[in-house]
Amino acid sequence: MYGSWANRLLLVPATVWLLVMLVLPLLVVIIFSFGERGTAGGYVPAFTLEQYANLSARFTAFKNTLLLAPTGTFLCLLVAYPLAYFLAVKVHPKWKTLLLVMIIVPFWTSILIRTYAWIFILGGQGLPKVLGFLGIEGVRLINTPTAVLIGIVYAYLPLMVFPVYVSLEKLDKRLLEAASDLGSSPIEAFRNVTLPLSIPGVATGCMLVFILLMGEFLIPALLGGGKVFFIGNALVDLFLQSRNWAYGSAVAATLVIIMLVTVSIYMKLVVRNQQ
């Protein structure tokens, strides 16, 4: 059972799966990104950097993504931080688990259906109508960048709350008491003690949200109404409509590279500092 050969046998299915369904497909993307488009779509083997040189054809998608992903990440942080602080420092331990579970659970339920709810809320029959009753006329939300940002904050909030919460939770309350003993005002204590200690959690949360946002498709598709185009939307278009696999692969590879760069910056800044 625990002999070395048995151990290897146990690893076989996972290894095969990771090779065939993860490593191989990613390799194919890299290979295809240096190829050319066939006349009827698909891929023709070649070795050219043409696809990468041509990335600017999808400039809008890159621009939107690189603009809205950081903005969305930042908004997430803005909303999540006070919540995480409250949960970590102020809430009675008895309620903590329940409140935390209540945050994480929506994240795991169908994003499609939850985003769908926002189509209604932000659409003409939803919030704008309510605002209309209050005398604020002519507000348009659905199919705007604002709608996309609201959807993003809504969808990714839990992912930000958790790491920040964990870093704040580890914070020793005695440190805060010590700070106030030394005559710091609560605000000073927060700025000098709490904030610096929560930086790793903030960085982790931002990284997670940012890299997942880079590949977002549904939220801009449903709430941006084809006007707010992300890289994800471009990819769907390239692979499912125009069937330009070589170019699509180059876009996907670029996406992964941006992600990897983000992760490695994160590793350098945060993981190193923690050791």
Binding site: P25, Y116, G215, E216, L235
Partner: protein, 275 residues
């Protein structure tokens, strides 16, 4: 602070509430509530397309969950004994599998499998032994969705089960050996009961993920339609109250499974494992 927290929870749950509320709306339009009715549920249940999509999703999700929890658990057990560089490679692959955006997995799997099938199908046709009947024609469909979902969720199960294994008291294994149990019996009588909550939690999370996933299935489902794909195309065709009913059912299922999983992972932990 409390008010803020409350507001955030409302922000998280109001969209869900709206879907549930309007799924019981007698009226056709979301904007006006015509009283309580369950007629939309009737409409959904009578809709053959929705039902077929549901069946597809159930098959895909349960197969995925079974495969992922078995293979993931096997790998988690084996990886305990793997050290050094090989271990680092596995860790990296698992990490990548979890972190990489679904859309990249989707397109990569799509082009890799389509390309592979293009080579394999003629080979199969030529070399298929006649007494086995007609050569199978490899195509995107159930199998590709299941394979792709299994890859991601298996990585998830590995992480969850491994955390449980490392939290387990090693002395229990030795105690069992000391009491004359062979390694094989120790595995069934001690190790498995100890890690079972984690496996079950992994199973439930895998099921939920697979059941809710839109983006991977969007690329690799071929001509099959899973429930999220059906919902997406319905939304594209215009908002109908039917979606609210489907949404409510889907949310109920996911919430139940998720809360069970959370309970298993946090709950009484190592203590009430088999009860």
């Amino acid at each position: 602070m409390r008010i803020y927290t409350l507001a955030v929870y409302l922000f998280l749950y109001i969209p869900i509430g709206i879907i549930v509320l309007f799924s019981f709306n007698a009226g056709r339009h979301a904007s006006d509530f015509h009283g309580f009715s369950i007629k939309w549920y009737g409409t959904v249940l009578a809709n053959p397309f929705a039902m077929e999509a549901l069946a597809t999703s159930l098959i895909v999700a349960s197969t995925t969950a079974v495969l992922a929890s078995i293979f993931g658990t096997m790998a988690a057990l084996a990886l305990q004994k793997v050290k050094g560089r090989i271990r680092a490679i596995y860790d990296a692959a698992i990490y990548i599998a979890i972190m990489i955006p679904g859309i990249v997995i989707g397109i990569a799997t799509l082009i890799a499998l389509v390309t592979a099938f293009k080579f394999l199908n003629p080979v199969l046709e030529n070399f298929w032994p006649g007494f086995l009947g007609d050569a199978p024609h490899l195509n995107m469909g159930y199998a590709s969705v299941i394979a792709s979902h299994t890859m991601f969720t298996m990585a998830l199960v590995i992480v969850i089960v491994r955390a449980r294994i490392s939290g387990m008291d090693r002395a229990l294994i030795e105690a069992s050996a000391d009491l004359y149990a062979t390694p094989w019996r120790t595995f069934w009588q001690v190790t498995l009961p100890q890690i079972f909550p984690a496996i079950l939690a992994g199973f439930l999370l895998s099921f939920t993920f697979s059941f809710d996933d839109f983006i991977i299935a969007f690329f690799v489902a071929g001509t099959e339609t899973t429930l999220p794909l059906y919902v997406f195309s319905s939304i594209r065709r215009g908002v109908t109250p039917e979606i609210n009913a489907i949404g409510t059912m889907v949310l109920t299922v996911s919430l139940t499974l998720l809360i069970t999983a959370q309970f298993l992972l946090r709950g009484r932990g190592s203590q009430s494992s088999t009860q």
